[in-house]
């Protein structure tokens, strides 16, 4: 099973995207846990969960370096969600991106 963590400012806007991604994952029988947190909770989450991929909302792009630094020893890929996909809340596409990152 793969764990996908989405991060945005205060966890405000990613929850809808999460539910759309979960739907997409269920439709294709992809064994995964997908959840969203605000930037400040991300740290503790990273410690308590075996996160496989970390995706950022475009509005927190400026935190990318910081996260890369934090997770570098765990070899977790970090990526900013594409602006089109984010704007359209396209769960399928973001899930597909997450899968590519996992390869």
């Amino acid at each position: 099973m793969k764990t996908i963590m989405l991060v945005c400012s205060a966890g405000m806007s990613t929850s809808l995207l999460v539910s759309k991604m979960q739907k997409a994952a269920a439709a294709e029988n992809y064994d995964s846990e997908i959840f969203a947190v605000g930037a400040s909770e991300a740290d503790s989450m990273l410690e308590s969960k075996p996160v496989d991929v970390l995706m950022l909302g475009p509005q927190v792009r400026f935190m990318k370096d910081e996260f890369e630094k934090k997770v570098a020893d765990k070899d977790i890929p970090v990526e900013v969600i594409n602006m089109q996909d984010y704007g359209m809340m396209n769960g399928e596409k973001v899930l597909a991106t997450a899968k590519t990152l996992l390869k």
């Binding site: 806007s13 509005q59 890369e68 570098a72 602006m83 704007g87 809340m89």
Partner: protein, 909 residues
């Protein structure tokens, strides 16, 4: 004339006359001056070979005989030869290994080496590399010991192709009027050695042709020579930042060896470490003084992204050292200390970045700690090792600072700053230094050296005469203008200034200075400048053209006029409290009072405050009928009055805010209407689709605008975006013109030589447009990726707490634009999509009364970002009112963080 040298000469003379050994204290006593300074000058004299010094302490100095001087000089020369070899280059065993092998091959290739071109971004060390090649040629005895190394920057004469050609290939007598004898070119001077042509892409076509002839056949023809060809044994080394296909295909085919130097991002962290250390050590050598650098500052310097590569790092270090030295001298500090916060902001940000290099940080930390070998592991000390040799004879920037400090009296000492020193520098001591420091790259690309020199000269003159500061951005704009003006005049293209007399009458002083400037320019470029052109020059100088300098002037007045016993006063009070001002006037209209009485009341107020209302008055009312007051009042009082009906608190707040900021009446009026439209109108009717546009403006509408136009057109889809060239003569007329354009176009940005703030349209300076990074932002802003409709569709059904998702999204979009303009930042559209989502869900969560996530250190953060917090809060009032919700400080802080964190790093000159 060289006052700086006086003290040094005094010391030299003293030693020469006494003929005995002396130490620094004795000399200082004898000459009654500061011992530290004496030491510095003695060191200079020593490095120059003028004096000898003893081992041990105190150091004893003695005037050296001529023979001794020669021996020392030879030693220095030998040493510098060795220092130049490739081994001295940082990264010679790593990032530069392959390039050095190529370079060695190019030099050793029989019989006289291969012609070479060096590619690399600005500041990657192309010149230094070329010098190393020359040194290697000497060492390997491929050229004679006295072989010349001639360097030339093709940008120096780029606006005069003929002169450039002549300079390189020489001139035959009679080639043009004034060529009364044969003149040797660089090619001839470089015979037997190496000719280094920097910025070779600036060579005009005829120059390229001749160069290729020389490369292929070994001969060339001087200018005006038709029969005889000349031969020379010269190895050409070219250097360029250019990477366009076109250029590459021409040059790669003709020049056999191509070497590409890596940008700083491709160098290893060890190499970068070496560079930073090296640059500090060089400064220590110049200063004759220990430098202590905060560990965090070192890390920042090693991790930030310098725009102009290694050269930039060197410049940044030089500037911070000069600043620290000034502080040291003016504040009696015990040591020369450099803190993280002394560094330019973009460098400081490096400390936060880390990048993927984080793993190396630990290694660096250890190395720094080991190196300093001191108890305080938070600093790095660069020790002044007096054996470091210094060859340049020119007074260093530090000596100049030193001199200024000793000339300034005690009281004013602490207020001395580097900027002032530089500004007051009329002897040109700083000139070279500043040239190194200023954003050379972009500037040099576009402005020939001679134009830039004259621009600075005439602007210094204007600065003196008009008592006003002109920054580099203004100078750059003028330089661009000057290039096209010279071109126009040389081609005899007349240009007419449509409002010359008026301009002259309104700005008599600026006009007189412009005449003087023109005189200087005429002399320099041997042209005659017509009066109309002088009109344009005047416009660059006159103050009322730039928007920023209107503080403490009379502002547009605001009157709030509402029905009800206290509606007007309570609305105004709210706005005043939010803005921390007492400006503005409220007039209440109790329902039992006759309208004509109210009218009299307003008129009396206007007549009483006539002086303060010279710039006009905006009447904010609640009913349409009251707007008729405006025209009546205007007629009766002679004051320019505009009225807005259906006013909300938001309109009052906004109008008051920008009135205080000194904006013009028309501007404030348009703005108030805009708020009204965006909050009300959009629900009723859709605006017809307008084509996107970007306005490109300069004073003539031809010169600079044409060059900007050429930069922008290739990055836009012309079917969807119109690039409109405009003449900017006068602010109000210009804005009116844009008003008209707004009906047909959705103006996305204004680009120009004079900063214009028009409603909320972002402004890009000419310099921005020639910066690739900022140009890309403009490109994204103009691209057709408008996701609004898709976003609305995506959110319909998911956000069900509001009646209309489209309304919510449109309001948020307006807010984002407003916050950007108030914070004076430009955001990447990508970030805007993210913010839009964030705000939409924020409103949703408030409406559902979901728990608020606390922001870490909210107190501290809001204290630090007080202004930004206020701006965002003010903008959020729109949605707060619309949905009757309250947005907490924690939530505001998140938003501020998103906006400020993602701000584009705009170039600052």
């Amino acid at each position: 004339m060289d006052n700086l040298g006086d003290r040094k000469n005094d010391i030299a003379n003293l030693l020469k006359n006494k003929g005995t050994v002396m130490n620094a204290t004795q000399i200082a006593d004898e000459l009654e001056c500061n011992r530290a300074n004496v030491s510095r000058y003695l060191n200079d004299l020593y490095k120059n070979g003028d004096v000898t010094k003893s081992e041990g302490r105190p150091v004893l100095y003695q005037w050296s005989s001529v023979e001794e001087k020669e021996i020392r000089q030879k030693k220095i020369n030998d040493k510098s030869v060795k220092e130049m070899s490739f081994k001295k280059l940082i990264g010679s065993d790593d990032s530069l290994k392959v390039m050095i092998q190529q370079a060695e091959a190019a030099i050793l290739y029989p019989p006289r080496g291969l012609h070479t071109i060096i590619f690399g971004e600005t500041g990657t060390g192309k010149s230094l590399f070329a010098e190393c090649m020359y040194q290697f040629a000497l060492e390997s005895e491929m050229v004679k010991g006295d072989a010349p190394f001639i360097r030339f920057n093709c940008a120096d004469y780029a606006n005069n192709p003929q002169l450039l050609f002549a300079h390189i290939f020489g001139v035959k007598k009679g080639a043009y009027t004034g060529a009364d004898q044969d003149k040797q070119g660089l090619m001839e001077k470089a015979d037997g050695g190496i000719l280094f042509l920097d910025e070779i892409h600036r060579l005009p076509p005829e120059g390229q042709e001749m160069l290729f002839t020389f490369i292929d056949k070994g001969f060339y023809r001087p200018l005006g020579e038709s029969s005889i060809t000349k031969e020379a044994s010269v190895q050409i080394i070219g250097a360029t930042t250019e990477t366009s296909e076109n250029f590459l295909s021409t040059f790669n085919r003709r020049i056999p060896m191509a070497i590409t130097l890596p940008p700083i991002s491709k160098r290893t962290i060890d190499e970068r470490y070496g560079m930073v250390m090296n640059f500090f050590e060089q400064e220590v050598g110049r200063l004759n003084q220990d430098i202590i650098v905060e560990r965090d500052a070192m890390l920042a310097l090693m991790l930030y992204e310098p725009e102009a590569n290694i050269g930039q790092i060197q410049r940044d270090i030089k500037v911070v050292c000069a600043k620290a030295f000034l502080y040291f001298r003016t504040h009696d500090a015990t040591s020369l200390y450099i803190r993280l916060k002394d560094l330019p902001l973009n460098v400081q940000k490096g400390r936060l970045e880390g990048k993927s290099k984080y793993k190396k940080i630990d290694v660096l930390m250890d190395r720094i700690a080991k190196r300093t070998n001191e108890k305080n592991t938070q600093v790095v000390t660069f020790k002044n090792n007096e054996t470091v040799e210094k060859n340049d004879q020119k007074p260093t920037v530090y000596e100049t600072i030193d001199k200024k400090v000793s000339e300034t009296d005690q009281q004013n000492l602490k207020s001395l700053n580097l900027k002032m020193l530089i500004d007051s520098d009329n002897k040109g001591y700083f000139k070279d230094y500043i040239e190194q420091l200023s954003g050379e790259g972009v500037r040099k690309e576009l402005l020939p050296d001679d134009v830039w020199a004259v621009t600075n000269e005439v602007y210094d003159l204007a600065q003196n005469k008009l008592g006003q500061k002109y920054n580099e951005s203004a100078r750059f704009a003028f330089g661009l203008h000057l290039v096209s003006a010279i071109e126009r005049i040389r081609k005899n293209v007349a240009i007419v200034h449509p409002d010359l007399n008026n301009l002259r009458q309104k700005n008599p002083k600026a006009f007189r200075v412009a005449l003087e400037m023109a005189d200087r320019i005429e002399h320099e470029f041997d042209i005659e400048i017509p009066l109309d052109e002088i009109g344009f020059i005047t416009m660059f100088l006159s103050t009322d053209l730039s928007e920023k300098k209107q503080q403490n002037e009379i502002k547009v007045g605001i009157i709030v006029l509402m029905h009800g016993a206290s509606t007007a006063s309570s609305m105004l009070q709210t706005a005043q409290e939010l803005l921390g001002t007492t400006k503005g006037k409220a007039i209440n209209m109790p329902l039992d009072v006759n309208v004509s009485e109210i009218y009299d009341q307003v008129r009396d107020y206007v007549l009483d405050s006539q002086e303060q209302l010279k710039k006009g008055l905006l009447l904010l009312t609640d009913m349409g009928s009251l707007t008729s007051f405006a025209s009546m009042l205007g007629e009766e009082t002679g004051i320019n009055i505009r009225a807005v009906s259906m006013t909300s608190t938001l309109v009052v707040l906004e109008s008051l805010r920008i009135a205080i900021a000194g904006r013009e009446l028309e501007d404030i009026y348009a703005n108030a209407q805009h708020i009204f439209e965006s909050s009300v109108k959009e629900q009723f009717f859709h605006m017809r689709p307008r084509k996107k546009a970007v306005i490109v403006a300069c004073f003539t509408g031809e010169g600079v605008a044409a060059r900007l136009y050429d930069r922008i057109v290739p990055i836009v889809n012309e079917d969807e975006v119109k690039v409109i060239r405009m003449q900017y003569l006068e602010k109000d007329a210009f804005k009116k013109h844009i008003n008209t354009l707004m009906r047909d176009y959705d103006v996305k940005a204004i680009v120009g030589t004079v900063e214009v703030s028009y409603q909320r349209v972002p402004f890009f300076s000419a310099l921005d447009i020639f910066n690739d990074e900022t140009l890309q932002v403009l490109q994204r802003m103009l691209s057709d990726s408008d996701l609004t409709q898709e976003t609305i569709t995506a959110l319909e059904g998911s956000i069900n707490s509001v009646n209309s998702v489209p309304d919510l999204i449109h309001t948020i979009q307006t807010m984002i634009i407003k916050i950007q303009s108030d914070l004076q930042i430009v955001l990447d559209p990508e970030i805007i999509v993210g913010i839009m989502m964030h705000l939409a869900f924020l409103v949703d969560s408030r409406l559902k009364d979901q728990p608020i996530k606390p922001f870490d250190n909210i107190q501290e953060y809001s204290a630090e970002k007080h202004l930004q917090m206020e701006i965002v809060k003010t903008a959020l009032i729109i949605v707060e009112k619309m949905y009757n919700i309250t947005i907490s400080d924690d939530e505001v802080a998140y938003i501020v963080q998103i906006f400020m964190g993602n701000t584009l790093n705009k170039i600052s000159v």
